[in-house]
């Protein structure tokens, strides 16, 4: 039933990915701090190699247990780490060209993988309650949503840091003045027209002060906008995950909603992010206040996954 050789291979590849992400993180931070292009490129390459090993690890795990490789907390955390890296490489690095964020993305992935390792469970079959195709759909959506929320949290955290650091930020982090100009004009109304979210502000900050070296770290405004767009992408995915979970609960437990702790926290997370979208779309909250709501949303996501499974007993903790 379980193929031990494949399971071992999966574990070894996992370690390779973890080491690669750590090395990539160091290189990318070095690239940011010393504005060393080469270090940045090397970091990206190492991250890509790590992601390759990671993908193989996940595949081997699925083959070893002859099932979809997302049935327990170890596998979930591992997938989230992988998607954060993949999302960073394909979207942030390639499409937006924001390599400066790389070190932080790798740091998040290292944390996710470390958490996965702490929650390690050997490859094994699923308990019957998990043997449903709704599980596959629900969990995939939850993993994708969580990964997107994690990416958006990186932007939010950097925004909050940068916004606070303001002019006194270390050289590598000082951005353009767009952020400042922006926060002045964020009354929610621009020339009498309602501002709205999803306005594709330039993702990258403009070049630094005339004559200075061009500063490549994205501006606070750009980070804020990126965070928002990522949440707007993640939110429907999360909504779908919650709906699919309810359908699965209906199939498995005879009710689609029962305020089980996991359901409750998924709902809380959903509500907080809905509050965030509302705040930006209609109340005209931008910047710090909205970012704080988003950060609370992410904390709630962490509770939804880790705290609920580890400390709060419910139908979702298949302890026995």
């Amino acid at each position: 039933m379980i193929d031990p050789a494949l399971a071992r291979l999966s574990d070894n590849l996992f370690w390779i990915a973890l080491v690669a992400y750590s090395v990539a993180m160091v290189l990318l931070f070095a690239g940011l701090a010393y504005r060393a292009r080469l270090a940045g490129s090397a970091g990206t390459a190492v991250a890509a190699l790590g992601a390759g090993a990671h993908a193989l690890s996940i595949a081997a795990r699925g083959l070893a247990a002859a099932r979809a490789p997302w049935g327990n907390m170890y596998e979930y955390s591992s997938m989230v780490g992988f998607l954060v890296v993949a999302g960073y490489l394909f979207s942030v690095d390639r499409r937006l060209g924001l390599r400066e964020i790389g070190g932080f993305a790798m740091g998040a992935a290292v944390l996710a993988l470390a958490a996965a390792r702490l929650l390690y469970a050997p490859a094994g079959p699923l308990v019957p309650a998990l043997g449903s195709y709704w599980l596959k759909i629900h969990v995939v959506a939850a993993i994708v949503g969580s990964s997107l929320f994690a990416l958006s949290f990186i932007f939010t955290a950097l925004y909050l840091f940068k916004d606070r650091a303001g002019g006194r930020a270390p050289a590598a982090l000082t951005g353009s003045t767009v952020g400042a100009a922006w926060s002045g004009a964020t009354a929610g109304v621009e020339e009498g027209f309602p501002r709205d979210h999803l306005d594709d502000e330039e993702a990258r900050g403009a070049a630094g002060p005339a004559g200075g070296r061009p500063d490549r770290f994205p501006s606070a405004a750009a980070l804020d906008s990126l965070a928002h767009r990522t949440v707007a992408f993640a939110f429907p995915v999360w909504t779908f995950a919650v709906i699919a979970g309810a359908i699965w609960a209906h199939e498995a437990w005879g009710r689609y909603w029962g305020w089980d702790p996991k359901e409750t926290w998924a709902f809380i997370t959903w509500v907080i992010y809905a509050g965030y979208l509302h705040a930006r779309a209609t109340a005209g909250w931008r910047g710090r206040r909205a970012a704080v709501v988003a950060a609370i949303g992410f904390a709630s996501l962490l509770v939804t996954y880790y705290a609920v499974n580890l400390w709060i007993v419910g139908l979702h903790s298949y302890a026995r």
């Binding site: 429907p236 809380i268 509500v271 907080i272």
Partner: protein, 529 residues
């Protein structure tokens, strides 16, 4: 609240009395704040519900909490913290949210209906619009202003704008799906709450444990526990479900692979259905669904006293977390000289660890043994009590021992306890929820609405023609309410399109330095997003 589709009053006359504007803004802000506050309050309330033990879920945990927090317990009880999701304040938040949601959806729906029916409006002035372009169309190319505007209207229609002509102006608008989607989303949330309410009010949820060979009938009294909606009205269907066999398959490492209850459904004496109920595969019959949710062992226990049968039958043993065994109780009130209560633990595959601690070596019935503990005295059966518990008040513990399957143990006073057979029981959750289809449809619509609201944008374009000396000056202006950068590209594309069709030249914008390059011609190498 801000009117969802700002009309001319909003857009073309920004000169409003500051006081009334402030009042309108304040009202809007208040409502929005209220909605967000209520949402977050709901989240906070449910957080409390997930952190405190909840009586409907685990009454024993609630008793434990009360024992540990004597001082706080009355307060927690008073605020319904042991049943948050049924507490008055949770209901109050929920109802306020429903009212608030209704209160903001209905006017928006009306405004939206009006906006959809109305035609895009012309603007008196293009001043202040974020996107402006002017094209000079040589008069030789056209005879008068009208065909130029016609061409502009055609170009806009091709881009699926809704277009209206008003004098020397074309007004166009696109992206009603955004507000429509948002409204669909919010209305669907209301429908979802409605579906949940219907389910609670008109349905029921029950649980019943059935030993192999037994069954249950869908009636109020047949269930071990039941919660019926206020408007359910006892409309049970009265069919019978008979459990022929219950099977568990195990993986080699003791993880269960599958639980299957093989059942027959009977209407009177007639078998109408045979089915295998397994986890994730409930039986649906006449609007009632029967789920496999748990299972356990039901040993047959026979108690006799000098040939007289005191108790005989399969006894449902519950999973005992403390010992890892299954625990049950047999009551023999007719034992003499005192009543007898037996507290029993079943080990389906008994092993003895060091320190003589019994444990189960596997989940299968390889070596079933009953451990018993005698209690003599008064069972106090005149009081309501659980079949799974002995009332310890009138009882004195006596001897203890073991009975392997197929064996008999001899107690004092000529009492014998035998263990002639071992069966399994299956626990079914039986539920009827007429609100489910409503809730499901609402959830799907909510998602569709959300996608439309998040990924579409509303934008307007105006085109005005002014005859000059030897050319017609075509003023084009645009405004996007969302996704402004994407609209900028769309707008430039439109202007380029018009210029090419009409053979005109784009005039430099007011303020551009003389001789500035044609802004609609992008330099090569600039990557658009």
């Amino acid at each position: 609240m801000r009117s969802p589709l700002p009309d001319a009053a909003h857009v073309s006359r920004p000169v409003q009395s500051p006081l009334s504007a402030a009042r309108a803004f304040g009202r809007w802000l208040l409502r929005m704040r209220t909605a967000i506050f209520l949402l977050l309050a709901l989240a906070a309330g449910s957080a409390v519900g997930s952190l405190m033990p909840q009586r409907p879920v685990d009454p024993a945990a609630v008793d434990g909490w009360i024992a540990r927090h004597r001082a706080l317990a009355p307060l927690a009880e008073r605020f319904g913290l042991f049943d948050v999701f049924g507490a008055w304040w949770f209901m109050a938040i929920y109802l306020l949210l429903v009212v608030s949601l209704t209160g903001c959806v209905v006017p928006r729906l009306r405004a939206f209906a009006r906006a959809v029916r109305s035609r895009p409006r012309a603007r008196a002035s293009f001043d202040g619009l974020p996107l402006r372009r002017a094209i000079a169309v040589p008069l030789v190319a056209v005879s008068a202003g009208d065909p130029v505007l016609e061409a502009a209207a055609r170009a806009l229609r091709r881009r699926r704008f809704r277009v209206a002509r008003a004098g020397a102006q074309v007004a166009a608008e696109k992206g009603y799906l955004r507000e429509g989607g948002s409204l669909l989303f919010h209305s669907a949330l209301l429908a979802l709450l409605l579906g949940a309410t219907i389910g609670r009010g008109f349905g029921f949820t029950a649980q019943v444990a059935v030993v192999e060979g037994g069954g249950f009938t869908d009636t109020h009294v047949a269930y071990d526990s039941i919660r019926e909606g206020r408007f359910f009205g006892e409309r049970h269907r009265g069919f019978r479900v008979a459990l022929e066999a219950f099977d568990v398959r195990w993986h080699s490492d003791g993880v269960p692979a599958d639980f299957v209850s093989r059942v027959r459904v009977l209407e009177g004496d007639r078998v109408v259905r045979r089915a295998a109920i397994r986890v994730n595969h409930p039986l649906a019959y006449r609007g009632v669904r029967v789920y496999q949710i748990a299972w356990g062992w039901a040993p047959r226990v026979r108690v006799t006293q000098r040939g007289r049968v005191l108790a005989d039958g399969e006894v449902v043993f519950l999973d005992d977390r403390a010992t890892g065994a299954f625990r049950g109780v047999v009551k023999a009130p007719s034992a003499a000289p005192a009543q007898l209560g037996l507290e029993m633990w079943l080990y389906n595959d008994l092993g003895i660890a060091r320190g003589r601690v019994p444990f189960n070596r596997s989940p299968q019935a390889r070596r079933p043994v009953l451990l018993y503990q005698e209690h003599r005295g008064d069972l106090r059966l005149d009081r309501p009590q659980s079949v799974y518990q002995l009332d310890p008040v009138g009882l004195v513990p006596g001897g203890a021992g073991t009975v392997p399957l197929g064996d008999t143990a001899v107690l004092g006073d000529g009492i014998e306890v035998s263990f002639p057979g071992l069966k399994q029981y299956s626990v079914f959750q039986v539920a009827s929820d007429p609100g489910t289809p409503v809730a499901l449809a609402a959830a799907v619509l909510a998602l569709a609405g959300l996608l439309a609201a998040l990924y579409t944008s509303r934008r307007r374009v105006w085109v005005r023609a002014e005859p000059g000396g030897d050319s017609i000056r075509l003023d084009v202006a645009g405004l996007a309410f969302q996704r402004k950068a994407a609209f900028e590209e769309e707008f430039e594309g439109l202007v380029r399109d018009l210029r090419e069709r009409l053979g005109g030249a784009v005039l430099a914008r007011p303020g551009d330095p003389p001789g500035a390059p044609d802004p609609t011609v992008r330099p090569a190498g600039v990557r658009g997003r």
